[in-house]
Symmetry: C2
C-alpha cells in the first residue's frame, strides 16, 4: 500500500488533465462550491458514496451533495493524499484510484466521525475543456481492517 | 433506488455479455473457485474492497481473495440482486453498477457480520471470449444511513 503523503511523491508524473480535475475536485470541496464541483461532471454521472447510496444523473448527484454539505461537510477539509492508479482507456477516458484525507465531521444522525481516508475510483471522460467526472465509487478505508490485508 | 430482488425485474434487458460476466462472478464465488473467478479478470486488474484495501494486478487480487475465502468467505452465499447501471464506453468497455446480497460471515478479527448488500462498480473490458473485469470498487450499503439519503 502506498504510504506517500503527497501526490508529488508518487513514482510517475501525473498527467496535467488528471491533476487539473483532481485539483478542481479538492478546491471546490474546500470552498463548499457545488456549482463549480459539478461543472466538471457529465450529465449522466453516477455516484456511489461511502455508505452505498447510488445517485444517478447530474441533478441527483449535485442535490445530494448540496444537502450533505448543508448537513455535515461545510468547512470539513479534504486533501488529496495520493494518485494510486491511472489507467488509460479507449477514447481518452481514464480510470483513476485516488486517496483523499477527509477531516472530522458528524453524520446526519449525530455520530462523530474522526478524520478518515477514502479511496475513490473515478471514471473520467474527455470534455471540451478537460476531463469530466462520469462515475465515482468512494470507499472509506477501515484502519482496523488494514492489518488483515493479505497482500 | 431499485427494490427488485432479481436482475430479471430491472426495467431494461441486460445485454448477454454483461449477464454472462455477472453469472461467472456469482457462480465462481458460490463455488469458492478463485481460478475460475479470476479467469475473467485482466492482467492489470485493480480491486478496492469494502474496507478500502486496494489490490493491484492479477496476482495480488487473486491471492487476496484466496486468503479471504480460506479465512471467511468459503460457503458464504452471494446473490446478484440488481443490475442498476450499464454505461457503454468507447472500445466496447462497460461501466456497471450492480447490487449483491452477501450472506453472513465473520471478519478476520472474529466480528460477526449479518447479511449485507454491496454496491459494486465494475469496469469491464472486451476479451477474446467475452467481457473481463478490469476494475472493481465494492461498497457495503449501510442500512442505517439509507434513511438519510437526500435524493
Amino acid at each position: 500500500m502506498p504510504t506517500s503523503s503527497s501526490p508529488l511523491a508518487t513514482p510517475t508524473p501525473i498527467e496535467p488533465a488528471v491533476a487539473a480535475l483532481l485539483r478542481v475536485m479538492e478546491d471546490t470541496w474546500n470552498a463548499s462550491d457545488m456549482d463549480a464541483m459539478f461543472a466538471v461532471a457529465t450529465p449522466d454521472i453516477h455516484w456511489v458514496n461511502v455508505v452505498g447510496m447510488h445517485w444517478q444523473g447530474h441533478a441527483a448527484v449535485k442535490q445530494a451533495h448540496v444537502v450533505f454539505f448543508d448537513l455535515m461537510f461545510r468547512g470539513v477539509p479534504l486533501k488529496l493524499e495520493a494518485v494510486e492508479h491511472v489507467k488509460a482507456l479507449p477514447g481518452g477516458l481514464r480510470l483513476l484510484v485516488v486517496r483523499w484525507l477527509l477531516g472530522a465531521y458528524k453524520t446526519p444522525s449525530g455520530e462523530p466521525r474522526p478524520p478518515s481516508q477514502n479511496r475513490m475510483s473515478i471514471l473520467a471522460v474527455p470534455g471540451p475543456d478537460g476531463l469530466l467526472i462520469s462515475h465515482v465509487a468512494n470507499i472509506e478505508v477501515n484502519p482496523h481492517a488494514a492489518r488483515h490485508n493479505p497482500v
